[in-house]
């Protein structure tokens, strides 16, 4: 078994159009590393030097990982990780 990662429209050019892909890892950081090996370029869209990019929300099952352990959040086979673009803006 693996971990299912659900990919938003905006990032499907990295996954040959797939809505969901499988990846492995014990933590979210490892999972993203594995994703990068399978789908080069994806990692840079998800993380920067400071951690998760503010332009994306990443959920473990139905919880925002920012409220869990961020990139250190443990993940396990059978979990679903969902990536959504953050929707935000402002007057400036």
């Amino acid at each position: 078994m693996a971990i299912e990662v659900r990919i938003p429209t905006i990032l499907r050019n990295y996954t040959d159009g797939a809505k969901a892909v499988d990846a492995k890892g014990a933590t979210l950081a490892e999972l993203i590393g594995d994703l990068e090996a399978r789908h080069p370029g994806l990692k840079e869209r998800l993380v920067d030097d400071a951690g998760l990019r503010r332009f994306v929300n990443v959920y473990l099952n139905d919880e925002d990982v920012r409220f869990l352990g961020g990139l250190g959040t443990p993940v396990a086979d059978g979990d679903t990780v969902t990536v959504l673009p953050a929707v935000a803006g402002g007057a400036r």
Partner: protein, 137 residues
């Protein structure tokens, strides 16, 4: 061009007015591939701010999952500006990530509300006409 029903325009403007002076935000979902906004979803502005908005991440997760289950997409993503014109700001542009979404800006800064729509693709803003209809044909 954005074609949208009068009822939805009224609902979006009413939400913007109700939350003034804070920015209001939400989605109008529609069937995938239809480009037709149908289902009005008023969202919380997690920032509760007159100069910034952000969808609450948990609410967004539920709403996006519902859309997925119904084979819908966010045809319109709207938010309000409460002291400036209805034109995308630098922050709006930096976050805009859906090439097929109509980004609707409402301004409540004036006596008459402004209602304008944009495509934002790769940082390039293109204003589009808004056609308001009584019902979809």
């Amino acid at each position: 061009m954005l074609t949208i029903s009068r009822e939805l325009v009224d609902a979006i403007v009413a939400h913007a007015r109700a939350d003034h002076p804070d920015e209001a935000c939400g989605v109008v979902a529609g069937p995938e591939g239809s480009d037709r906004p149908e289902r009005f979803i008023q969202m919380d502005n997690a920032e509760r701010s007159p100069t910034f908005y952000r969808f609450d991440s948990h609410e967004q997760f539920r709403v996006w999952r519902d859309m997925d289950d119904r084979d819908e997409v966010p045809v319109v993503i709207y938010h309000s500006h409460t002291a400036t014109e209805a034109y995308p700001s630098r922050t709006d542009i930096s976050y805009a990530s859906e090439p097929d979404t109509h980004y609707v800006l409402v301004s409540t800064a004036y006596d008459e509300p402004q209602f304008r729509s944009y495509r934002i693709v790769d940082g390039v803003v293109t204003e589009e006409d808004v056609k308001i209809v009584e019902a979809y044909g």
